[in-house]
């Protein structure tokens, strides 16, 4: 009966991984029990690696593609929105300087309020962190539709030359944008509430 200590599991794993101490490497050469255990650990690693691969139960590509496109669009639109806001303000200044329009003060106030509503909804949407949970097909379709409509609106808002100096029309578009964002918030809020059930 030998009183030589055997290698611990951690020491044997280190030997298996080529990082063992000189003592442990020498010991497994001399000790049949630890040598067998080392062989078993090598076999276990091989068996783990040979386990079959899982296949995703559902094809998530469509959802990923929609969200990836939406995120890409948001990144581009963020830049565009900044430009549009600057253009709108420039328009306001021009109108004010020329004293044009039936009631320029009311139109300016209305436009500013519409832009503020849209920005507030953007913040609410961001706070909901809509990417933190997977969308089901129905929600993804609703989100894609709303995002498509917002995208179309942003294209119009990003083209001040086409909008001209019609502050009332600009305010309408910004209000419409705030409404679509509000609908997006509703979709995500409902999803969060359902997920919490």
């Amino acid at each position: 009966m030998s009183d030589v200590r055997h290698g611990t599991m951690e020491e044997l794993l280190a030997v298996r991984d080529g990082e063992g101490s000189a003592w442990a490497r020498g010991h497994v050469e001399a000790c049949a029990s630890c040598g067998a255990e080392l062989y078993r650990l090598e076999q276990m690693r091989s068996r783990l690696r040979a386990l079959p691969q899982y296949a995703p139960p559902r094809d998530r590509w469509a959802v990923v593609a929609v969200q990836a496109r939406a995120e890409r669009r948001v990144r581009m639109v963020s830049a565009l929105t900044g430009l549009a806001a600057a253009a709108a303000l420039a328009g306001l200044l021009l109108v004010a300087a020329q004293g044009a329009g039936p009631d320029p003060l009311a139109a300016r106030t209305s436009l500013r309020a519409a832009m503020a509503r849209s920005q507030a909804m953007e913040r609410t949407l961001r706070e909901l962190n809509p990417d933190s949970r997977a969308l089901n097909g129905q929600a993804a379709a609703a989100v894609a539709d709303l995002q498509g409509r917002i995208e179309a609106l942003d294209a119009r808002l990003g083209d001040p030359a086409a909008l001209g100096r019609d502050l009332g029309r600009q305010a309408e578009l910004w209000n419409e944008r705030a409404g679509l964002l509000s609908a997006l918030v509703d979709v995500h809020t409902t999803r969060v509430a359902l997920a919490g059930l």
């Binding site: 599991m9 078993r40 276990m44 783990l48 690696r49 691969q53 139960p57 990923v64 997977a134």
Partner: protein, 180 residues
């Protein structure tokens, strides 16, 4: 697993995907969805969580394509994102307390009931942290340093988790664990 796409092709696909080419992005998705989902299943509590990890991983890939160093393995980069997403979900759901209970229960199970499990069942029965370390180290080939950084733990913790996991697997698998 090894990279399923040769490096030169990966570089080209990533460059096209960065420019907004959806077909290139889908090609990447199709090439790695199985591997990402398998990793996510091994690291997650439920198949539903694994599906969420798969989706979150590819959205993160879309956001971060510019961060991949084109000279390194694309799978190693994707694998790190997937493991990180799975671990984030694990932390977010605050399952650590429950996990500790699972671990205690598992020890009792191993000592008191000499059941014979197959490897798949035994792996699933491991506490989540131990299973994560076993999978990332023994199957994915990550070093203890990489695992420690990913999990916010020390390398000693990673090594001890691996040893404990193998002790449990041996107990649960019995003689089967000693045979190839």
């Amino acid at each position: 697993m090894a990279d399923t796409i040769p490096l030169a092709e990966a570089r080209s696909l990533v460059a096209r995907a960065k420019a907004g080419d959806q077909r290139a992005l889908e090609h990447l998705y199709r090439a790695y969805e199985g591997a990402v989902y398998t990793l996510a299943r091994r690291l997650s509590k439920t198949p539903e969580d694994a599906e969420d990890v798969l989706q979150e991983t590819f959205l993160e890939i879309c956001r971060s394509l510019g961060a991949w160093r084109a000279e390194g393995s694309l799978w190693a980069w994707i694998r790190r994102i997937a493991a990180s997403k799975a671990l984030m979900r694990y932390r977010r759901e605050k399952v650590r307390a429950a996990d500790a209970l699972d671990e205690d229960a598992a020890v009792g199970f191993a000592e008191d009931v000499p059941l014979r499990l197959d490897l798949e069942a035994a792996l699933h029965r491991l506490p989540e942290r131990s299973r994560t370390v076993v999978w990332l180290h023994d199957v994915e080939g990550m070093t203890h340093e990489e695992i420690a950084e990913l999990m916010g733990m020390t390398t000693s913790f990673s090594k001890s988790q691996l040893a404990r996991a193998h002790q449990k697997l041996r107990a649960w698998l019995g003689e089967e664990g000693a045979v190839a």
